[in-house]
Subunit: 352 residues, 3 copies
């Protein structure tokens, strides 16, 4: 038996320094984006199902609002006091659920969580239509995650309060994509500007499969609103056809340029941003990335290159990158709360 | 693979109109029932286990208070700020749990939920007596649902804070019955009056088994407080003996008149109210209604007849009724929150 | 079928009298311990992993603060309004979880609970290091219970917000021990004094196994801060070697005197305090106490002797003791909330 008493001395009583990415970059955004709340009015009391609902102007204003929440936490006046969120995660999640719940709590609201599919309705399962009808009367906003991509649409049929899609099967995850864009804007504030200097154009890579990764699907839609800023988008994958039917064409018609590559090592030195994801959802199951697409501090990364990852991570993203300048995934996770605060307070029109 | 991007255009950005049953009818009740809070004082700090605890006067005052909450939501001053609800659902439920939690939150209180039996106490299970003793110190009120009908009585042995029975096995579900009565009063406000005009007397049917359906058991007890208003209560069932031992006699001595029928189609055209329930609990399991007792828009319903259902529904209640005048089950679900607000604020004496 | 309606008359409408142990004893402590908040400043924003982190002065000040919360509940100004607790119980628990959550709510804060290991992270499990990094941004304090004793240390590697150990495997459970000490101080306020009169020295027994019971491990560490007050500590057990390697030596060097006995009946008449525990954790499983170590009203207890038990109890602690003067375990459970309020408000420096 180990002597447990001895290890007590190892407790790290001194905190680590706070990462500064949470303060300087959002302040830069706050200064750079002119306030224009009128573009946000179209989002008031509206459901958020797809990334395709957002205009460039709305994304910038939401990022501006997120920056305000991130840099001026003391200014919160708990505008959602008395408002009730139903946080319905029929597909397990901690990260996304806590991010939404933290955002709602920081705005002053109350929360009712549904975390266990088996705890719901009649034993045989109640229709999402009926659950939606009930939630109209019990709450002010619903966040829904479900492994069935149709779930959010079924609930929408009866809902008269706003719903936010927290991930629907392999389809979309729009608020994750909004957090991704917020991280991108903090990393390269020039993205906010009306025209991009050619020297600032970004070589962006996605290690993953756009056709079946919902975070990637939504992100590409949002990126298409900033298409001139991207020199090209390199899809790094083994899949011969990584896009869903029509997906590539639609994104290209919006201005994105794609190239597919299976040679990550060759691409890395030219890339400004690498977006990497652990898993692709396949119905109720998931598939992991091949092990040869892992990043570590030993990878040939360009100076100043940013790595984004929606987390949770697996072996594909080594911890030795955490302390490097490439680590923007922690800032991305941090910013997710503020971006969701921005979205939720906009939908409930308490942002003014 | 489906092109998912294409369907984004189908999002219903316009909200549906709010149902008006939530406003006009409760206003009518508020005007019709004279305020008399003294009758509520007997409920202060008391446990609510059975529908038999309530007098007609108390039910009317609770309905009046519910009407006030339903029509004047802006008047809430969060009177339960700092009060803690333990929401203990050892038997799975979403609808009842969220209804109680929504009511408590709207009154300003905080909540601790227990939704998973397996997460409780020592691995072998702690006695409800001991859990009750603990809850005395950790909270201000307990809502308990348990598939064992004795659970609420076991906890009562040690509790010194109020408990509300959220459904105990096949025994009772008093707050559901209160929500049912509230819907009835909104549908026919004349029920509030001291004497009922003979032309207003109600032919009420229950499609179900009063002996084993807890919602029906509790509802009949409350209906007996309004016995003169009911011309007769028709039990529509295949069961030869749908009552529990002594149940029918006790209800008849309180003034209700029963008739049993197995011919739903013949009865429907004469019925003013049809109360239909999906399932009967049998210990830890449940039994569904026979499929021949389903209602739909094609059923021969009397003009103005109201359908009540405690929900969640199964196939026995067709969706094509939702848009008809017979749909009082959605108003019933909506009102459940306000009736529970009335009860909870009364128990904690914050209603004044 | 039982006639359920008949039993409705058995509802105990009158509450039992409140136990007075919750008011007189803490008031005594409040008067006896001189206020000295400076000793608490070392706990501000610090993690609480082990009982060995606390000095005698800190324990007394925390007990004083707990006494204030217990006797002056009306003085609460909800100092944690806007602060978010993550209540992460990867090992099932209701008692400890609700105690922490009740304490946090009474201080005005909001809570996000994780109660189901399976609901977390990616399907294969996210590292606690990454979860900790996430929680830095989503919350203000974490309470963690995990059956793996290393879990709290893994999370500490990335956490920059405070964490409180809510039980880590067979290692420690420091806040339970603090509640135990608080109960002891209320039972014998002379323990607060700088020197103990020899007539007041305590014969303390532990029915259990210090080496593998985390509550006992932590309690003995805290007791060593009050070593002169204990005449001896009798370990009542069948185990030949009930201590972990080095544990006894470390505690003896801090001044505690141990004796091991397997004859409970012989020891009981001389004992002032008996601490009894149901189970010993063994990795993910547990072992119950032998049935011969049970206490009941028939046990040969000394007049005025106090029984402590961290609860939940099994057969080893008979209910017929509940109404006797020996029952300090209910006061111990009650006080746990106030002691946790004291600790949490100290860590977040809102105690002044």
């Amino acid at each position: 038996m180990v002597n447990k008493l001895g290890r007590k001395l190892l407790i790290p009583l001194e905190g680590q320094p706070l990462d500064i990415q949470g303060f300087e970059q959002p302040r830069e955004l706050l200064n750079r984006i002119p306030e224009d709340l009128t573009s946000l009015l179209d989002l008031v009391q509206r459901p958020v199902v797809s990334a395709s609902q957002f205009s460039r102007a709305q994304l910038l204003q939401l990022a501006r609002l997120a920056s305000r929440y991130e840099t001026q936490p003391q200014h919160s006046v708990r505008p959602l006091t008395g408002k009730i969120l139903v946080s319905a995660f029929y597909e397990p999640s901690t990260r996304t659920r806590l991010s939404f719940e933290s955002a709602w709590h920081r705005l002053g609201g109350d929360i009712m969580s549904i975390t266990d599919p088996a705890s719901t309705g009649i034993a045989k399962g109640e229709s999402l239509f009926d659950i939606g009808e009930m939630l109209n009367h019990y709450s002010d906003l619903v966040v829904l995650r479900d492994s069935n991509e149709n779930a959010v649409y079924e609930m929408l049929e009866s809902l008269r309060i706003p719903i936010v899609n927290g991930g629907n099967g392999t389809d979309e995850h729009p608020t994750q994509a909004m957090a991704d864009i917020y991280a991108l804007l903090k990393w390269r504030p020039a993205l906010c500007d009306a025209s991009i200097d050619s020297g600032q154009r970004i070589r962006f890579a996605i290690i993953g499969v756009p056709g079946v990764m919902r975070t990637v699907r939504s992100l590409l839609i949002l990126m298409s609103q900033f298409a001139p800023a991207f020199e090209e988008v390199v899809i790094i994958t083994d899949e011969a056809e990584p896009f869903a039917a029509g997906q590539r064409e639609e994104l290209e018609s919006a201005g994105l340029c794609f190239r597919i590559s299976d040679d990550m090592q060759k691409e890395l030195p030219q890339l400004d941003v690498i977006y990497i994801n652990t898993i692709a959802w396949l119905g109720d199951d998931y598939q992991e990335l091949g092990s040869r697409y892992g990043l570590s501090a030993a990878s040939p990364l360009k100076a100043g290159a940013a790595i984004l990852h929606p987390l949770a991570r697996g072996a594909e993203l080594a911890r030795d990158l955490d302390g490097t300048e490439h680590n923007w995934y922690f800032a991305q996770a941090r910013g997710a709360v503020f971006m969701r605060m921005a979205l939720l307070s906009t939908i409930l029109k308490t942002f003014a």
